[in-house]
C-alpha cells in the first residue's frame, strides 16, 4: 500500500511552474528577512524598544487564523481526492474566511499605527515592520483571490479525484503565504 502511494504521488505536487514562482517569492522574503536581521543586529535597542509597541495578541490570533485556513485547504484537497466536491467547496469557503479574518485583524493593527502617526519614515524598525507585513498582506490578498478561483472551480465540478492539479497548486501557494507568516511572526513580534 505504501509503495503504491509512493509511486502514485507526483513530486512536486501540483504545477512545476507554480513551484518556481513560489521559490522566487520565498527568495524575495528571504532577502527581506536577512536585511531585517542584519539591521536589527546593529540597532538592537531601537528594535527592542519599538517591538514592545506591537500587538502580539492580535498577531497570535492572526497566526491561528492562517494556520486554520491552511488546514481547511488541506481538508479540501483530501475531500477532492475522495471525489467529495461539496465538502471540498465548504472547506475552501472556510479557508477563505480564515484569510479574510487575517486581513481584518491586520487592518485593525494598521489603523492603530496610523492613528499614532506612524509611517515608513518614523524609524528603521517601523520601516521594516510596515514593509514586511504590508508586502505579506498583499500576498494574503492574492492568496484569497486564488482560493476564490479554486472555490468557484470546485463548485463547478472542475476538479475530480483524478484531476485536481489546479487545487493542489493553489493550495501550495496558500501554504507559502502561511509559511512566510510563521517566520515573520516570531522574527518581528516576538524575538528580542
Amino acid at each position: 500500500m505504501y509503495m503504491q502511494d509512493t509511486i502514485k504521488t507526483k513530486y512536486p505536487p501540483g504545477d512545476l511552474a507554480l513551484w518556481i514562482f513560489i521559490c522566487a517569492e520565498l527568495l524575495v522574503f528571504a532577502i527581506f528577512f536577512a536585511a531585517y536581521a542584519f539591521t536589527r543586529a546593529s540597532n538592537i535597542e531601537l528594535f527592542n524598544q519599538y517591538q514592545a509597541t506591537l500587538n502580539t495578541d492580535l498577531a497570535l490570533l492572526n497566526t491561528i487564523a492562517l494556520l486554520t485556513s491552511s488546514y481547511f485547504v488541506v481538508s479540501a484537497i483530501i475531500s477532492i481526492k475522495e471525489n467529495k466536491q461539496k465538502q471540498s467547496t465548504r472547506f475552501l469557503s472556510l479557508s477563505i474566511l480564515g484569510g479574510c479574518a487575517f486581513l481584518i485583524m491586520k487592518m485593525t493593527e494598521y489603523s492603530h499605527h496610523m492613528s499614532e502617526g506612524i509611517n515608513l519614515t518614523t524609524n528603521l524598525f517601523y520601516m521594516f515592520y510596515l514593509s514586511l507585513t504590508f508586502f505579506h498582506f498583499m500576498h494574503v490578498i492574492l492568496g484569497i483571490m486564488i482560493l476564490t478561483v479554486l472555490w468557484l472551480n470546485t463548485r463547478k465540478g472542475l476538479y475530480t479525484a483524478d484531476n485536481h492539479d489546479g487545487l493542489v497548486s493553489g493550495g501550495a501557494y496558500w501554504h507559502m503565504v502561511d509559511l512566510v507568516w510563521l517566520i515573520l511572526f516570531p522574527l518581528i513580534y516576538i524575538m528580542r
Partner: protein, 462 residues
C-alpha cells in the same frame, strides 16, 4: 499570413528598421565625440547626437511594438483588425511627427525648438529621454490611444487569449505611464521622482509584458508547443516582472532626495528583477527543447532564444551589478550604467522586435513561412555580428566604468571627471570599433531582406 489586415504591420516594421539604422549612425557619431570632442561640431553637438540616438531608439521600438501588435493580435483573436485604415493613418501621423521632431533637434537650437513649439504653454521639454516638444508628446498620446482603441476592439470582437491580454495590459500601461511626462513640477525631487514613472515603469515594467507576450507568440508559432504550457509560463513571468519591477523603481530614488526607506525597497526588489528574465531564458529554451515541429524559419527561433539570453545578461546580470544602494553609491551615472543600458535595451527590446519581424516579414512579403536559405544565412550572420559586438560594447563600457569609479570616486586621491575621461579613452576607442562592427551587422541584416531565392522547405514534425 492568415488575415489580410495583418499586413499593416509591414509599414511599421520597415519604418522601425529605417529608424534603427539612423539610431546606430548617431550612436557612432556620439561614440566618436567621446574621443574626438569637436567631431561634427557645431553642426551636431554631443547633446543633440545623444538626444537623437536615444529618441530614435524609443521611437523605433514603439514602431516595432505597434507592428508586432498589428501582426499578432488578428492572428490570436482569429479576426481581421478592427480598422486597418486607422492603423495606416496613425502610422503616417507618427512617422511624420517623429521625423519633424528629429529634424527639429538637428536644424534649430533646442531652446528655439521649445519656443516655436509653444513649450511655455505647457512646459514638458528639457528632460532626458523626454526631450520631445509638448506638441509631439500630445501626438504620441493620440497615436497611442487610437492604437489601443484599434487593438482593444479587435480583441473584443475575437478570441481572447492570454497573449493578447498580457499584450493589452502592457500597451495600456505604456500609454498610461507616458502621461507622467506631462507632469513637470518645479520641485526637482518630485520632477525626478515622476520622471522615473515614465522611464523605469516603461522599460522595467510594462515593456517587459509586451516583450514576454511577443516572445510567447513567436515560440508558439515556431515550436508548436501547447498554448496552455506557454501561457502558464507567461503568467508567472509577468507576475514576477510586476512584483519586482514596480517596486524596483526605488533603485532610482536612492540619491534624488526621496525618503530613506527607498534605499531598502529599491535595493531588495530591484535585486530580484533578474528573476523574471531568468525565467524567460528557462522558458524559451524549454519550449524549443520540447518543440513538436522544426520550423523552417531558423533566424526567428535564433532571435527568440537570443532575446531571452541577452535580456537576462543585460537587464538582469548587468542591472544587478550596480543596483544595491551601497554599490550604486559609487557607480551611479558612470559608464557602468551605460554598459547596462546598451545590453539591456538590445537584449530585451531590440532583439524581440527583430524576432517578430524575422518571423512575420517573410509571410507579409508573400512567402509561405520563411526566406530562402541564403537570406537566412545572411540574417543569422547579422545576428551574431550585432550580438557579439554588443557584448564587446558592454564589456568595454564596463571596463571604462570600473576604472572611472576607481579613479574618480573610490581612490584616496580622486581625480576630476575630465581627467578620468582622458584616462579611459582607450575603452571608448574600442567601444567605437565594436560599434562599427554592429553597424556592419545591421547593414547585413537590412541586405538579407533583398536576397532572393527558393524558400526553405516547410516545417516538419519532430
Amino acid at each position: 499570413m492568415k488575415y489580410e489586415s495583418q499586413s499593416v504591420a509591414k509599414l511599421y516594421f520597415i519604418a522601425a528598421i529605417g529608424l534603427f539604422v539612423g539610431q546606430i549612425v548617431f550612436g557612432l557619431v556620439m561614440g566618436l565625440q567621446y574621443v574626438v570632442g569637436d567631431f561634427m561640431f557645431p553642426e551636431i553637438p554631443f547633446n543633440v547626437a545623444r538626444m537623437v540616438h536615444t529618441n530614435l531608439l524609443i521611437v523605433w521600438l514603439l514602431f516595432g511594438f505597434m507592428g508586432a501588435a498589428y501582426y499578432l493580435v488578428p492572428e490570436e483573436a482569429e479576426t481581421e483588425l478592427h480598422s486597418p485604415m486607422l492603423a495606416k493613418l496613425m502610422f503616417w501621423v507618427f512617422l511624420v511627427a517623429g521625423a519633424l521632431t528629429i529634424l527639429g533637434y538637428l536644424l534649430v537650437p533646442y531652446a528655439t525648438l521649445a519656443e516655436i513649439t509653444g513649450n511655455h504653454l505647457l512646459p514638458t521639454m528639457g528632460r532626458e529621454f523626454l526631450e520631445q516638444p509638448t506638441i509631439t508628446k500630445i501626438g504620441i498620446v493620440i497615436v497611442a490611444l487610437v492604437f489601443l482603441y484599434n487593438i482593444a476592439f479587435t480583441i473584443l470582437k475575437g478570441r481572447k487569449t492570454v497573449i493578447t491580454l498580457v499584450l493589452l495590459i502592457g500597451l495600456a500601461g505604456l500609454a498610461i505611464f507616458f502621461l507622467f511626462s506631462f507632469y513637470n513640477p518645479d520641485n526637482l525631487v518630485k520632477d525626478k521622482f515622476y520622471w522615473w514613472f515614465v522611464v523605469h515603469l516603461w522599460v522595467e515594467g510594462v515593456w517587459e509584458l509586451i516583450m514576454a507576450s511577443i516572445l510567447a507568440f513567436v515560440l508558439i508559432k515556431t515550436t508548436g508547443v501547447d498554448r496552455e504550457i506557454i501561457e502558464k509560463w507567461l503568467y508567472i513571468i509577468i507576475a514576477m516582472a510586476l512584483i519586482t519591477g514596480l517596486i524596483g523603481t526605488g533603485h532610482h530614488f536612492f540619491w534624488i532626495g526621496a525618503p530613506e526607506y527607498w534605499l531598502w525597497w529599491g535595493s531588495i526588489f530591484s535585486a530580484l528583477e533578474p528573476i523574471p528574465f531568468f525565467m524567460m531564458t528557462v522558458f524559451a529554451f524549454n519550449m524549443v527543447n520540447k518543440r513538436r515541429i522544426n520550423h523552417p524559419n531558423q533566424p526567428a527561433v535564433l532571435w527568440a532564444l537570443g532575446t531571452a539570453v541577452m535580456a537576462f545578461l543585460g537587464a538582469g546580470v548587468w542591472g544587478f551589478m550596480h543596483t544595491l544602494a551601497p554599490i550604486n553609491y559609487y557607480t551611479h551615472g558612470t559608464q557602468i550604467t551605460a554598459a547596462h543600458g546598451h545590453m539591456a535595451f538590445y537584449g530585451a527590446y531590440v532583439m524581440i522586435v527583430l524576432a517578430i519581424i524575422s518571423y512575420a516579414m517573410p509571410m507579409m512579403r508573400g512567402r509561405k513561412a520563411c526566406n530562402s536559405a541564403a537570406s537566412q544565412v545572411a540574417e543569422m550572420w547579422s545576428f551574431w555580428l550585432m550580438t557579439i559586438s554588443m557584448v564587446f560594447i558592454t564589456l568595454f563600457l564596463t571596463g571604462a566604468g570600473i576604472l572611472q569609479v576607481w579613479l574618480q570616486r573610490f581612490s584616496d586621491e580622486p581625480m576630476s571627471f575630465m581627467v578620468v575621461q582622458d584616462k579611459i579613452e582607450v575603452f571608448y576607442w574600442m567601444r567605437e570599433g565594436a560599434g562599427v562592427v554592429f553597424l556592419i551587422g545591421l547593414l547585413l541584416y537590412v541586405y538579407s531582406f533583398f536576397i532572393g531565392g527558393e524558400e526553405r522547405t516547410v516545417e516538419e514534425k519532430v
